[in-house]
Amino acid sequence: MENQSVLHVKNLSKKFGSFEAVKDVSFSVNKGDVFGFLGPNGAGKSTTIRCLLSLIKPNSGKIELFGKSLATDRAEILQNIGSIIEKPDFYKYLSAQKNLEIFARISGATVTQREIAEMLDFVGLGNRAKDRVKGFSHGMKQRLGIAQTLLHKPDLIVLDEPTTGLDPQGIIEIRNLILRLKAEQNKTILLSSHQLSEIELIANRMVIINQGCSIVEGNVQELLNNEETVVRVEIDSSDKAIELINSNLQISTVDRISATIFEVVMVKSRVPELSKLLVESGLQIQAIEPKRKLEDYFIKIIQS
């Protein structure tokens, strides 16, 4: 059941006047995925997400959620989706609790007052339930947004830039919340973010889109492992290690940085091979750190 498709987007296109914001975007999100939706500013991420939530009508293409077409089963599908688009905006003149009551009433599910209170506790706003949203910080609104998203117990959660504008503490809180949702409730999460390190930490699959087109889709670790990466090694003798590598491993680029530090360009999947060689040689290893992160991969893909 793990590979059961929750969301399937095929050849989605949307034009605003003569500007083609989304061109033939296709991707699939499977049940239980934390799916990263990446792209630079203006790539068409928000437009695609708005299409998924029926905020924007696509010009062409197919959107299927839970095996049903969004075009024909909109209400039924949206009952099963919770979302935050860009930033969670609420009725500022109402309290956190009243806001949740408003959205619960039109969520298509029966949500009790107790469930609302529990949800506010879950996101750490239990003691601010009666306070007007007007006085809430951005982080608190974001957490209230998460509460609103989860209130009707949806299977798919769509989070568009949920960490934008948050301080490091807020980013960690949202990250932990997403990980909890995945671990405790096995929710499927579609996560669009500029925080590539966040995506790398929590997403298992991803798609990268640029200029309205989907460029690459797949398992995050597989995509990164198949790419050449810079591995930084801290060791008691760089020279001895480099000699060993040159004679035992077919690696083209090895750069000596200092007497104790050198860098190797290699595919990430060969890192265990390298560490085994160095350990068996009796050299004292302080650190082996693959430097290439999702950011590098992302930039390479976008530039290509």
């Binding site: 708005r50 905020l55 924007i56 209400a75 979302s83 905006d89 009725y91 109402l94 959205f103 039109i106």
Partner: protein, 280 residues
């Protein structure tokens, strides 16, 4: 879902301070009018009746609750549309300005139902404002001035209505006044679907009312053919209930024109809102 969202919309309306501006403004204005009429009402009315006193003799209490209620209605029905538009003009565009439209439109409720629920909530607000106007103008002025026959000055002359023959006229008059205000509310909701800020629809609604009222009052032949179709022409139809005999045919015509306006404006709003890409 429609009723649930109508309830939501009503909660939103009553939670906004601006929704009480109308009630506050009406209370202050009517209190001022009642106070002024209490102080100087006899003098004001004697100016009007002076020209008739050579041929008619006025006995009894001319300045009574019925006359004051009529004067209040006459004075305020022109201004109340602003108070209505202040709230209803914000119903869709306010959500766009606040960003909550994204949350609302991504819920499992159709956009048509969203518009309908906003229209219903706007209608309830307009009704409450009309009832408040009725309570203040009729009940309070009766408490202050007492009851009596109503003397109304029409273009045809004076109409004197018996005390027992007045209340039902006010009742029906308020119903038509409500319909006129509902047309204004629907117009502002319609403008609201085209805008992304709160002020635009309110200003646009008032601009339309002013322009249509000016066209209606201009004695120019070229406008004669369109005047019967302007809703502003029919906004003062409530006054016809204070004529003798009552021109029911003209009132029915006004009611039909106002209802056609409401239906058309709701349909335009639904069409626009359904077509709208929510990018805010």
């Amino acid at each position: 879902m429609l009723l649930r969202n109508t309830y939501n919309e009503f909660i939103k309306i009553v939670s906004k301070p601006r929704s009480f501006l109308g009630f506050g403004a009406l209370t202050i204005l009517i209190s001022l009018i009642i106070f002024a009429m209490k102080m100087d009402g006899e003098t004001i009315v004697s100016f009007i009746t002076a020209s008739f006193e050579q041929t008619l003799s006025f006995n009894g209490k001319i300045v009574n609750g019925n006359l004051i209620a009529f004067i209040i209605l006459q004075m305020l029905v022109v201004h109340i549309p602003l108070l209505v538009a202040l709230v209803t003009g914000d119903l869709i565009s306010g959500e766009a300005a606040m960003g909550t439209i994204r949350m609302l439109a991504s819920k499992p409720i159709s956009r048509t139902k969203i518009v309908f629920s906003k229209f219903l909530a706007g209608a309830i607000y307009t009704l409450l404002l009309t009832i408040w106007l009725g309570i203040l103008s009729l009940v309070v002025s009766h408490l202050v001035f007492g009851s009596g026959d109503l003397i109304v000055l029409n273009s045809d002359g004076l109409v004197i209505l018996q005390e027992a023959d007045i209340l039902w006229r006010f009742g029906l008059g308020f119903c038509v006044a409500f319909l006129a205000l509902l047309t204004v509310a629907t117009l502002s909701i319609c403008f609201s679907a085209f805008a992304e800020n709160s002020i635009g629809p309110i200003v646009a609604t008032m601009a339309v009312i002013i322009v249509f009222t000016i066209i209606g009052s201009l004695d120019v032949t070229v406008f004669d053919s369109i005047k019967p179709y302007l809703f502003t022409t029919h906004m003062a139809s409530w006054r016809s209930f204070f004529e003798d005999p009552i021109p029911f045919e003209s009132i029915y015509q006004s009611i039909i024109v106002l209802i056609i306006h409401i239906v058309l404006l709701v349909l335009i709003t639904i069409f626009k809102f359904n077509k709208k890409d929510i990018t805010s």
